[in-house]
C-alpha cells in the first residue's frame, strides 16, 4: 500500500479518517479488536489535530518490520503546540471541553506512540498497531 494522505480540516474529515484507517487496518491484517482500537485512537488523534492543532493532515501506511505487519499513522498540525507534554498525557486533564481521555487513551490503544510538539510551531503524533 502506498502512503495515504488525508486532510483533517472539518469534523467530517475525522469520520473520513476513521473510515480510511479501518480499511488500512484490514489491509494490515489486524484482528477486529485491534482494528477497533487503532480506529478509535485515530478518531481521538484526528480530533486533537482539528480542535487543538487547528487542522492538519493524517498519513497512513501499512508497515513491515521483519515478519511483523502493522499500520502506522501520523498526525501533523501547525497549531499552537503543547506547552506541557506531561500534563497533556495525563488522564483526565483537558485543555478543552472533552473528557481529557483523548491523548492518554489513544496511547493505550496502540503499540507504538511518539509525540513531538513545539510551542508556536505545531505537533506531530505517530502511532502504530502491530499484528
Amino acid at each position: 500500500m502506498e502512503i495515504i494522505r488525508a486532510p483533517i480540516r472539518t469534523s467530517n474529515d475525522v469520520v473520513h479518517a476513521r473510515q480510511l484507517v479501518r480499511r488500512g487496518a484490514q489491509e494490515a491484517g489486524l484482528s477486529l479488536v485491534d482494528q477497533t482500537k487503532i480506529v478509535t485512537a485515530a478518531s481521538e488523534l484526528a480530533r486533537n489535530t482539528l480542535t487543538h492543532g487547528l487542522g492538519g493532515e493524517m498519513t497512513m501506511e501499512v508497515v513491515n518490520a521483519g515478519a511483523r505487519r502493522g499500520l502506522r499513522l501520523t498526525f501533523v498540525d501547525e497549531g499552537p503546540g503543547i506547552p506541557d507534554m506531561k500534563l497533556a498525557l495525563t488522564d483526565g486533564w483537558t485543555s478543552g471541553n472533552g473528557l481529557g481521555m483523548g491523548l492518554s487513551g489513544a496511547r493505550r490503544l496502540v503499540n507504538d506512540f511518539e509525540i513531538e510538539s513545539r510551542v508556536g510551531e505545531g505537533t506531530r503524533v505517530s502511532v502504530a498497531r502491530w499484528k
Binding site: R18, Q19, T36, T40, M101, L109
Partner: protein, 118 residues
Amino acid sequence: MAERIPILRMGEFLLVSIQVDLHDQLALQLQDDLTRAIQRHTARGVLIDISALEVVDSFIGRMISDISGMGRILGARTVLVGMRPAVAITLVELGLSLAGVETALTVERGMDRLRADR
C-alpha cells in the same frame, strides 16, 4: 437541511437507533433533539441502539453519558443496547467505563428493562 438521527416514539418510550458513523456535530444535535423529545413527549425511558456503531470514541462516549445524565434529570431512564464486543473492549482500554449508563445486550432486553420499571 442538516442531517439528523431519527427519534422514534413508542408509547412512553423513545427509541434511537444510530445507523451512521457519527461526526461530532451530529452527536451534539442528537443530544439536543433527544432532550427536547423527552420533554415534549414526557418520555419515561430512552433506548439507544448502537449495534451499528463500529467505533465509540471519547466524544461519542461522553455524548452517551451526558444523554443518560440529562435524561435522568428530566425523569427518563436511558438504556444503551447493542454495543459490539470490540467496542466495549476498546472503550474500557481508552479509559471510559460509561459509569452510570445502564446497558443491555439487545433491544428486547433493553425494552424489558424499561417496561419493568413502573
